[in-house]
Amino acid sequence: MRVYQVPHHTFWLLTLGTFLAALPHLLMGPLWLRVLIPALVVARVLVQRGRLRMPGRLLRVLLLGAIVVGTVYTHGTIAGPEAGACLLVAAFALKLLEMFRLRDAYVLLVLGYFVLATTFLFYQGPLAAFYVLLVMMLLTAALIGINKPETHARPTAHVRLASVMLLQSLPVMLLLFVLVPRVGPLWALEIRQEGARTGMSDSMAPGEVSNLTQSAELAFRVEFEGEVPPPAERYWRGLTYSWFDGRRWSQAAPRHVPRDELVRFAQGSANTWYPGLSVAREQVPGPVYRYRVVQEPSRRPWLYALAVPFAEQRDIGLARDFRLLRDSDLEQRYAYTVTSYPLLKPAMSLPDWERDFNLALPEAGNERSRALAESWFAEVDGEPRHYADRILRWFRQEAFYYTLEPPLLRGDTVDGFLFESRRGFCEHYASAFAYLMRAAGVPARIVAGYQGGELNPVGNHLRVHQYHAHAWVEIWLEAEGWVEFDPTGAVAPERIEQGMEPFRDGGGGALQNLFGGRGGAHPLLARWRNSLDYIQFSWQKWVLGYNETAQLAFLERWLGEVSPWRLARVMLIGMVILLLPVALWVLLRQRGPARSPLQREYRAMGRQLRRAGLASPEHLPPRELARWAGEHWPALAGEFNRWAAFYEQAAYAGEDEQESRQQLRRLRRRLRWRLRG
């Protein structure tokens, strides 16, 4: 079979573009893929150099079979994004060895764009976008190359044209990106990242090992519109634990309570508390915080917000314990806008089932704590607030220590902590405090989330890390509703005021230290780190987080009312405005350079002849023009020839150009006169 020879000047562009398009998948793909693709590329290079024959059909079919087997071996399936991408990339590289016709080169290159796009399934940073743009330029250059017939064309020329074309495309791309309406997924698809994520879990067991607070991984970023709450008020609620089994606090609700009563989604059915709450928020005094959260993928549905949060997105629900959650797990970075009303908490009532549930304790166990609770509660005459203060004072005054490495506790963990070890972190204090509350008959629950956040002065946004994870307690006070208490703050107030930094013991790793992770770094490095963080955050907010809601908000701000008709009109007008200059530039650049006086003279002659009825004698050499005109007007043939002779003299003789030009003009004018006559 005859093998299509990719033009020499394009072969390297094509091979490089193909390889680079597959490269991101190599980095994260299985070992066989990492071996196979470079091998295929090398084989193709050898074929091009004549060192190797193009493999036969049988070998290609075997290779394809091996790829399918390898994919199934690695992913267990050939469906789904990871397996699909793996299969696609391998088959795409195999296509290199199947180039028998020009058509195969086209298919390879156009598929290359697709393979390139799948990079974004796994990498979404600004650098990844830049890389993809670069490779796309190479693929486009290769496309230009296979369309260029000359054997001596230079690859740099293809690269230049491809870059120009891509740059010209960018404005229209941006327009489409901003204006094309985002819709929700058409069918459910999930993309699973390898490995578990650090973050909250739906239960906690103080006394067991916790590795959460050591992680420097980013949990989310927050950008406030307007006022940023002071550090002591930055309690990001994620979930509440209402059920205690003696060792473990977990998220739970009585079985008989319908889900719509617990969480309110826009598309859910009516419940008892939401209408009242949303009316109350119109009248609530005090601060209102409006902010946008961009949350890292957590593989959990919980979102983080200040109490009492409202979000407009339809896939976000509000739970009756003042937290937000999404209708599906966050498998990717997720952005949402929240408005919080800190003083709205009293508007929520406490039905009997909830009171009972938040008082429940195991029948037995932790007897010393129970006894302590009963005696102290009696001491303060059954006044819950005084009782809580009494406990906090106890935490503060006795030898309780804040440490991230507490001893393991066995048996009754609350008793063990309160009366023996007295060393622990937020979980221990919250758990003990809530237990003491419930034991005294005060409804209490544990709130888990994050506390604090580092302010990035460059973008004026907060960065909240995994080591900001925190647990605190909410108790029910008649007339005040749910009130937050942070027993950890009693022991380690600086934990709340200054954040986690002083307590962390180099958990951020070398990189974090290099970039001044522990506060004592060079200010220049810190600023650089902040700027980098700001770029990433803006990228996440504006590019990755530009979803249905953000688009609607953005368009409403700039266009006013948003209707499909209006959107279409704006898109059309925008397209024209953006494409017109490009079109003019592309098309009008063909206009020749400024004409010399001689050329003007020549064109004047052409016009003159046209007016006299001789069709379009452009681009003829002067002698031809004269001969042609002479045939048309035999009587004037001599004059025309003289004109041509003068023209050539002026153009090529070089000397005394001025005079021949004047002569030329005189001749032409005489001819004009005679042509009219």
């Binding site: 086209y106 298919v107 156009v110 598929l111 764009y113 697709f114 390139l116 796009a117 799948t118 974004f120 399934l121 976008a129 993809v132 796309m136 486009t140 496309l143 230009i144 296979i146 369309n147 260029k148 017939p149 000359e150 044209l161 074309m165 891509l166 010209q168 495309s169 960018l170 404005p171 229209v172 791309m173 489409l176 990106f177 094309v180 985002r182 819709v183 997924p185 058409l186 069918w187 698809l189 993309i191 990717q332 590019v543 990755l544 530009y546 494409l579 490009v582 079109a583 592309v586 098309l587 650049r589 063909q590 206009r591 020749g592 350079p593 069709a615 379009s616 004698p617 452009e618 681009h619």
Partner: protein
């Protein structure tokens, strides 16, 4: 129905782009549509768009938009690659009817940019490829099918280009207002239509060596024309001989139209054409007498060409070519 549409299309083309010997490609004359690869490219972009929606992945969506914009920009570039090109009808190179002739097209690029990867062809003939650099003038000979004797209009010239990306095809169909001459197809006949010529040439020849053109065979000498080698004898194993003809400078024949009464025009022309070739092969001097005039006796490639041209032009309206 189809035929009617085709006629309507031709009429529309003729109105939109009347024939001219020189034409400049502009938006009036250029059509542009995606190629199969272009549709494939758009399908990939659409698939990415759907994928971007489904995975809620803005970057994949952005790439789909970038592909769509690149396609739009490619329209401009593909159009520009044809736009501004000037085509001029050049010379013609006739051939026998039923065979092929050739027409010259002179392409002239504008001053500023090149026209790359142009494919030109007349209907029914494979396309020829050419690129023209800025300010350059290039001439291209295009094969044309000659269906009949006389001037053949070659149909509309198709100029096509897919440069730069191959995703779009820009083309034009131009009536270059020129035509290619078809010589009569040679038809052998036993009787030489040179009645009277024999006697006259005889007069000439009598003074020379005798009445036969063909003088006999002599041994082959290096430098003898292969046309004169007696291949039949060679094939028969009798050795290499050269046919010796009498000196052609001295006699001539008049091939005459009038000598073939009773035959129709095309047959006459075909036979005459055959005899022109036959006499030329024998290096015989010959002249041609047609109703519209005569061609003075002579021989050689020039004479043959002129004779065939005259036969081809017989009865045709005067045309440039």
């Amino acid at each position: 129905m189809v035929a009617a549409l085709r006629t309507a299309y031709r009429r529309w083309l003729a109105r939109r782009m009347p024939g001219a010997r020189q034409q400049r490609l502009n938006q009036r004359r250029i059509f542009i549509l995606p190629t199969g690869y272009g549709l494939f490219f758009l399908a990939i972009a659409a698939a990415l768009f759907l994928g971007g929606i489904n995975y809620e992945n803005n970057l994949i969506m952005a790439l789909a938009f970038l592909m769509a914009s690149l396609f739009m920009i490619a329209i401009l570039h593909t159009f520009r690659n044809l736009s501004g090109l000037v085509l001029r009808a050049g010379q013609q190179s006739p051939g026998f009817a039923g065979g092929e002739g050739a027409l010259e097209i002179v392409l002239h690029a504008g001053d500023r940019h090149a026209h790359t990867g142009l494919w030109l062809h007349y209907p029914g003939v494979p396309a020829e490829e050419v690129s023209v650099a800025p300010g350059e003038e290039k001439s291209l000979w295009l094969t044309v099918r000659l269906r009949r004797r006389g001037f053949n209009a070659p149909g509309r010239l198709r100029v096509e280009s897919r440069y730069p990306l191959g995703l779009l095809r820009a083309w034009s169909v131009l009536d270059m207002a020129h035509s290619c001459l078809g010589w009569p197809r040679p038809v052998p006949s036993d009787v030489c239509p040179a009645g009277g010529g024999e006697e006259r040439s005889g007069e000439h020849r009598a003074r020379q060596r005798g009445s036969e053109d063909f003088q006999g065979l002599r041994g082959y000498q290096p430098g003898d024309s292969p046309r004169q080698v007696d291949w039949k004898a060679y094939a028969g194993g009798r050795g290499l001989f050269t046919k010796d003809f009498s000196d052609p400078q001295e006699g001539w024949l008049w091939l005459e139209w009038e000598r073939m009464s009773g035959l129709d025009t095309e047959t006459r022309l075909s036979r005459l054409a055959w005899w022109v070739l036959a006499l030329e092969q024998r290096q015989q001097r010959y002249g041609l007498r047609l109703p519209e005039g005569e061609l003075a006796p002579g021989s050689g490639a020039d004479q043959q060409r002129q004779a065939l041209d005259r036969l081809g032009r017989h009865g045709e309206p005067e045309q440039g070519g």
